[in-house]
Symmetry: C2
Subunit: 343 residues, 2 copies
DNA sequence: TTGAAAGCGCTAACAG
DNA sequence: CTGTTAGCGCTTTCAA
């Protein structure tokens, strides 16, 4: 069933049917209803490709997922993010097009996306401190929104980000308030923007109390279980070991926990862990024998929603003036078993 | 830059240029080369929408992600799966279109996908034991491949699956060999096909040794940390508690571990855990103080690759005869810190 | 080996 | 308020 035959059946021109279905004002209500009902009855849906070609709009948003053989690129968080974004796209009638590209051919991927014209805009994931993708997109003139930020020009483009600095400042303060004086930071890869900001938060908290920053207590790398384990194993046999670990991911925290146990120490008595993570999980802090975290999966989903909404608005309005949304991480302390609170 | 202007610049007709670029045989090699070079130089890429409209092929594969407010639908594994599928799509020139739909309007979503014509086939995730989506797709006549299976008609359609039954049978045997006689199974939601198969594997191992199956030792539900924790807490205060937990997810395993510790017991001495999971992580078994799992992330990625390849072949060849690929889970025992082996 | 012309299904000026 | 016409950028007969 297509426009033409539907119009034929109704004894109308394709134009009128199109107008009726697309809510143009110059159609009589009677006709519109008649057309709508017929379309419904015939289970008519306009062919997307034709619509796209005619309007020049792809009605699709691209997500480019860089992939490398070195790293675990696709982190679990990503799933929640696209779930959120997808909700918004579905409501607005956009498709979500996922493109997996090898790390080294990202430039080509963007250029192709542009000239092939199958997306109206792109959503950028996991920006690095200095991210060349921004410049590329500016050159191409394609609308985009960042999930995260890049160093420097915070205000030059639209982004949605969690306040990573504040989250880690709060977490560090939490541990400092408990009396910890040697706090290790098990962080993500240094060149990632979020990792940089988290580190800044950690450092800011220490500086605010006039405490020295010991570089030996900071580990940056892939946030794996092995990372946490190895760091804990090593640090805990120093003459002056840390009494607490602040980790950037649940996996690292799990590893640290294993390291602590292997060192014959007791979690929550000898050593504490506080973790930031977007996964569902529980870790105890040093006093209350209670779990604690600083972000939940649902907040990532919300970030996905907001990014998508921002991008769609930008595309549809043509207004490219940058907008920003900074979300505060949720610090959950003393949460007992059961579902994690939504926010 | 479009076909027309490129042809104009070359002093050729659009037809010839199109033919040259698409590898039609009736073009002289000289012309072909000249066209190819010009296209390269001009950074020409055919407009996807136009191509789609003209050929009637969407050059896109749909992934429908059902979403509900009750469950954590989008599991982390999903990210690895689409990473694998995406690799294949990219090579074959397909777009991956992700559609998030509320649980209750899946039927409509499929029908729309069909009539809007923006995908050539779909990939089905996380099938339930009895999955009505199969019937729907058959009605619509749209090519599809399942990641997983459904009960009964294994052979009626194409699928790629991990041998969940075998994996759990092996894991159970592993624990039985260590001398465990009361093994708890912390499983996924019962209506999911994979959960059903895992349970069958567990039961088969027990039956093979003429051991009774104690329903009280089987928990089915969402694979969260709380699930594992609550199960362990409760079971460990029974008069005859389990000495081992076989869990279907790393999160549940983490929870069980916490439950074990809270009960004042020692992991790897009093109680063992073996987990199946697609996440990167470590858990110790009951003897060697060494980590163990039965599946890694990379295997999920491989499943994504195979599903995608199967579907593309089906679409392009028009051959709908069902094909199946059963992947064996990887059982890793005695793995020490460091990256998880690829297979 | 190349080109002209029609058409994929829709939208959007422009008339009426 | 409705219809006619042209065209989005490509592919694909058919003819040369």
């Amino acid at each position: 069933m297509n426009l033409k035959t539907l119009a034929l059946e109704l004894g109308l021109s394709p134009t009128t049917v199109s107008r009726a279905l697309n809510g143009y004002p110059e159609v009589s209500e009677a006709t519109r209803r008649r057309v709508r009902e017929a379309a419904e009855a015939a289970n008519y849906h306009p062919n997307t490709q034709a619509k796209r070609l005619a309007t020049g709009r792809a009605m699709a948003i691209g997500h480019i997922i860089p992939i490398s053989d070195r790293h675990e690129i696709v982190n679990p968080v990503f799933a929640d993010f696209i779930a959120g974004a997808g909700e918004v796209y579905a409501r607005a009638g956009y498709d979500m097009v996922m493109t997996i590209v090898p790390d080294d051919s990202e430039a080509r991927a963007y250029a192709e996306l542009r000239s092939k014209g199958n997306v109206d805009g792109v959503l950028i994931h996991a920006p690095k401190v200095e991210d060349h993708r921004i410049a590329m997109l500016d050159t191409l003139g394609m609308p985009y929104v960042l999930h995260g930020r890049v160093s420097g020009s915070d205000s030059a483009f639209s982004w949605v980000d969690v306040n990573n600095k504040r989250a880690f400042e709060r977490a560090t303060n939490f541990l400092l308030d408990l009396g910890h004086r040697r706090i290790a930071l098990i962080n993500g890869i240094g060149e990632m923007d979020f990792a940089r900001r988290r580190r800044r938060g950690y450092e800011a908290a220490l500086k605010a109390r006039d405490m020295a920053i010991d570089p030996a207590l900071i580990v940056e790398g892939e946030m794996t279980e092995a990372q946490g384990h190895d760091a804990a194993r090593e640090m805990l046999q120093w003459p002056n070991p840390p009494t607490a670990f602040l980790t950037a991911s649940l996996l690292s925290a799990m590893g640290a926990r294993r390291g602590i146990e292997e060192a014959g120490l007791v979690m929550g008595r000898d050593v504490s862990i506080v973790t930031h993570d977007d996964e569902l999980g529980y870790l105890r802090n040093g006093t209350a024998e209670e779990p604690i975290f600083t972000a939940t999966r649902s907040s990532v989903r919300e970030a996905g929603r907001r990014c998508a909404a921002l991008l769609i608005e930008q595309i549809e309005s043509g207004d490219r003036s940058p907008r920003h949304e900074l979300m505060e991480a949720v610090l959950v302390v003393g949460q007992s078993t059961g579902p994690v609170p939504t926010q």
